[in-house]
Amino acid sequence: MQVTFKIYRKDPEKDGKPGRSNYTVEVPDGATVLESLFKIRDEMDSSLAFRCSCLRGHCGDCMVRINGSSRLTCTAKVSAYTQKGPEISLDPLRNVSVIKDLVYDWDAFMWNKIRTVKPWLDASDAPTNGESVIADARMKDLRKVMSCYQCGMCDEGCSVLPVDINFLGPAALTKAYRLVFDPRNQDARDRLKTAEGPKGIWDCVHCYEADEHCPRGIEPTKRIVALRDEAYRLGITNEKVARHHKSFTASVKESGWVDEGRLAVETEGLTNLPGLMKLLPTAAKAIVRGKAPLPYLHAKRPGAEQIKKIIEKGEAENK
């Protein structure tokens, strides 16, 4: 089968500008995209740079975009991408800075972010007589999460990273989950505080793209939600979004509906004067347009008592 590969190129030792090279190669039936890349590098252009290691879907190193979708080249069969025609485009991931061709900066993309969550257990090195006795159900959950081979597909699918490249992202936060929910970790609370910090769990917009993208079914979004619940449960709520959630719940619990004025103030933080000052123009506009009639009073709505009971029931169940 003859296939034309249209490959993203960039050479930092030349002009460093992105371009594209086309290579038409004959590949055998059943060939993978990675095998095609080897052939191109060997026979047509030895300067072509791409990463790979395990060759068979174990390690996550060869992740690129094939016809726009992120995939491991080592398990992607050429024939799966040529149904509309014998052309395949290969590009680096979207949310990365490219070093050369299909080789991009994994440090900035993922490794440094994972390092931010202090990705280790603080266990004692001293010998012991036996293992920690733990039910397999808990280990099973950890095995699922730790089956992550850092392929980057979750971060690639993430809706937040394209607008805020500093967001820790689903891969690093999934690592945080592994540390927070490992019963052997003495410092789970510390790890949760780290994950709860700026650019952490509260910046996730739960679009569930990470869950859609993860090839191992680890469901990173659900892990982030679990971290939020745990943070909430333990009262680790330092971030603005956490205060927003807290105020929202408190206000609905008290009056049966959201007190938007209170929500705005408590979200900014009662001691956060600069933040509160920023609210003033909005408040003034709201008053002028009759959206916040003075005196500003937030009355209980009918059925508030019932709503309160529902919330209390939920809180009791989560304890």
Partner: protein, 539 residues
Amino acid sequence: MQDFDVVVIGGGTSGLRAAIAAKRAGATVALISKNHPLRSNSALAQGGINAPLGKDDSPEKFAEDTLAAGDGLCEHGVVQSLAQEAAGEVLWLERMGVPFNRDKDGRIDRRAFGSNSRSRSCYADDRTGHMVLTVLYEQLQRLAIPSFDEWFVTALALDGETCVGATALGLRAGKLEGFTARAVILATGGYTRTYAPSTVSVGTTGDGQSLAYRSGARLMDMEMVQFHPTVFPKGQGLLITEATLGGGAEIVNQQGAAIQVAKTAPRSALSLAIAQATQNSDGGAYLDLKPIGKETILSSFPQTHELVRSVAGLDSTKDLIPIRPIAHRPMGGIETSANGATSIAGLFAVGECAANGLNGAGRLAGNTLTESVVFGKKVGEAAAVYAKSAPKKIFPAAMLADEEKKLAALTSADSGQDSLAKVHAELGRLMSEKIGLLRDADGLQQALSGIKDLQSRHRQIKVRNPGKIYNYELTGHLELGSMLTLAEVIARSAQARTESRGAHQRRDFPATDNANWKCHTIAKLSQGSAQIDNKPLAN
């Protein structure tokens, strides 16, 4: 110039464990790895990590099984040491966070694996290597050990007879740099990419063995290359863990009828049995996972199920999976003591890269990971102790410039029609056919002259890409050079051993010859070619 007490080369489980141990022993440590440690070949280990934790088990029984798999060529002291220390290391891994499967009492579960006479392979689904690697890498970060990822070591630095560091090419910056060290630990893994097909990652090219050998170190038992019995042979080859056999899977013919082989025989015997049972039938052998049951396949072998689907396009809960024995892991490597000391002062080696006599002529299934952590720790500590007492050595001043010249001399726009991939493909075919499961004098001679021819072709091939940054053509050239160097050693060692034992089976010498060959082969570089000697067992 970077300067450390201990420099570890290789980021798989052995290298990580050694780096952690050396750091804990008080040394300043750096890790150099040609790819990111989490991408190393250790991630491909599936079935388990052996430790005699069961009530029905003991270090003695574990040692017996290891010795039996080694077919008379193991060093007893080294085997004892593994058997005694395995449990402690597995418990350490557990404490550091490996999510081992648990039994109903919440203790580490163990399963039947290969020719282990007891269920002693602790496991984390069928991703044991991945999990151990992940946790060791976590601990490396905990200790803030600097990790030079995507740095390719081009040569060892010697001050007289002593190793004092290495030169390495940073792929990202495209820059060659010197690393001074009082002790260097090679943990670069095996050399199975000399064979095609094989079960290993693209970088398993014997860099460490070749670096050491070219610097004058001795290699041991290099003819011993284990074939794995149950590998889906198409494309790049996909190993299916033998733990599936322990779980009830059957080896069958195309019609689904069982092929009568001893499923718990050592790998070399099982591989031979499968090859022989199928040599006269067109259909070949298949692995039938159905007897394990769909639920257990999905819960205990999730990765196998996933990869059989994505790589082989088959459903492991329904389809028969074609299998063939394929080159897997060598037992041979750099000759070391139990503490990893090589024949060069200041140079240590550990794991698949080394031959300390643990594996003899055949490695017991589930011992690879155990070996890497038990001896990783030991060798890391020994290197740290050595580094403390070693006098400060001088990194040879001219070496960096010399290495740069050598690399530059490889590059030329005019490279002719030949190519690295062609030479590599021919090497792989030659090794599999002539120095594979069954060998004989004629075949070995053909292999050797073929290898010589490929070596000279390789010398003619130039690197066409003049770039410095991520020049994979250059690193590929160096890797192929390593493989061709070792291929010659493998061929010559296999020629020398005129008997059949473990992984080394000769058609022309089918019997085991304990009178003459209960000894190791030793290879040393002498006047540009491999000189083979024997070394008696210490036992």
